[in-house]
Symmetry: C2
Subunit: 202 residues, 2 copies
Amino acid sequence: MVQKSVAGPEIERLIQLLTKLPGLGPRSARRAALHLIKKKEQLLVPLADAMGVAVSEIGICSICGTVDTSDPCTICADPKRDSSVLVVVEDVADLWALERAGAVKARYHVLGGTLSPLDGVGPEDLNLTALVDRCGSGDFSEVILAISATVEGQTTAHYIMDQLSPLGVNVTKLAHGVPVGGELDYLDEGTLAQALKARTQF
Amino acid sequence: MVQKSVAGPEIERLIQLLTKLPGLGPRSARRAALHLIKKKEQLLVPLADAMGVAVSEIGICSICGTVDTSDPCTICADPKRDSSVLVVVEDVADLWALERAGAVKARYHVLGGTLSPLDGVGPEDLNLTALVDRCGSGDFSEVILAISATVEGQTTAHYIMDQLSPLGVNVTKLAHGVPVGGELDYLDEGTLAQALKARTQF
């Protein structure tokens, strides 16, 4: 439903734009807008500033493809990271998730999506040429494909494998299994079958 | 959980501020931030602009207490509205909800909350003096209390009634009953009892 004109067009434009954020529908966008307007000094002003800074400062890292305010990004420029391991992810959100897990202190490569012929996403739409170049340099002893276990993700992983195999680089992938804290009851058969197949000694 | 430093502090500040919006938790704030950064030209730039405009232009209407870019607000300045009816609401969100319903084309008065002694909200914290002044002017033939049917809301309504009764103004309140589209099964006993009591001829 279109918001009727009960306030100035500026407020309606703010609501309309907030509706485009993932996780906010028309109702929650209105609530968010009202919250912002009420907390003008504590929230609206700093958020407007932060967005202004983001507009002017945030860009894409020319090495790995993540978003950051510096180029090369914080991760590519970090000398303490293991430069012999490259983790390939679909998206910046996946990179952030892996960093939160803190399981690997290595370099990253962000593809920017997965191959999806039905949606018209081909190899030329992904950050693949740069990946092959980076792997061809011989700097990496291992390339970990941290790509979703979806059909598109696995298709993309196989395509990358085909591209990298002539280079003789060691390519690995994430383990399948029961999520930590997960109940067997709620798991699909595919996951259970994989978890059984890859069982380890207790 | 605190977001680890995987991107510049500017991105983390943006995420942190987005987390403070109602409806966005840490995870959805990260998603929203990433979405904004990816859709820089289509979304981040216009949203930053809209917020900048909101910061500089939006204020509180000196007559009714709603938020708007003009003072008096769009509603108070609208000559087509019925100036003899005043609808008293708790909050700007309630005013917007009533306007979306489109059921009344009258004037409004926004209290800015409800009386809540436990939370330290007394009559002096609400926009009550202005309400009594407006009602005392004799402009309004009816004052509709469109206040929530909660304990605090009803306490506030009774307090307003006490304040307005010496002025001899006709004060009404919203009807209780079955919500349109509501199933009897899911309604509480209080609502059902009120709906039965206020039954009308079919």
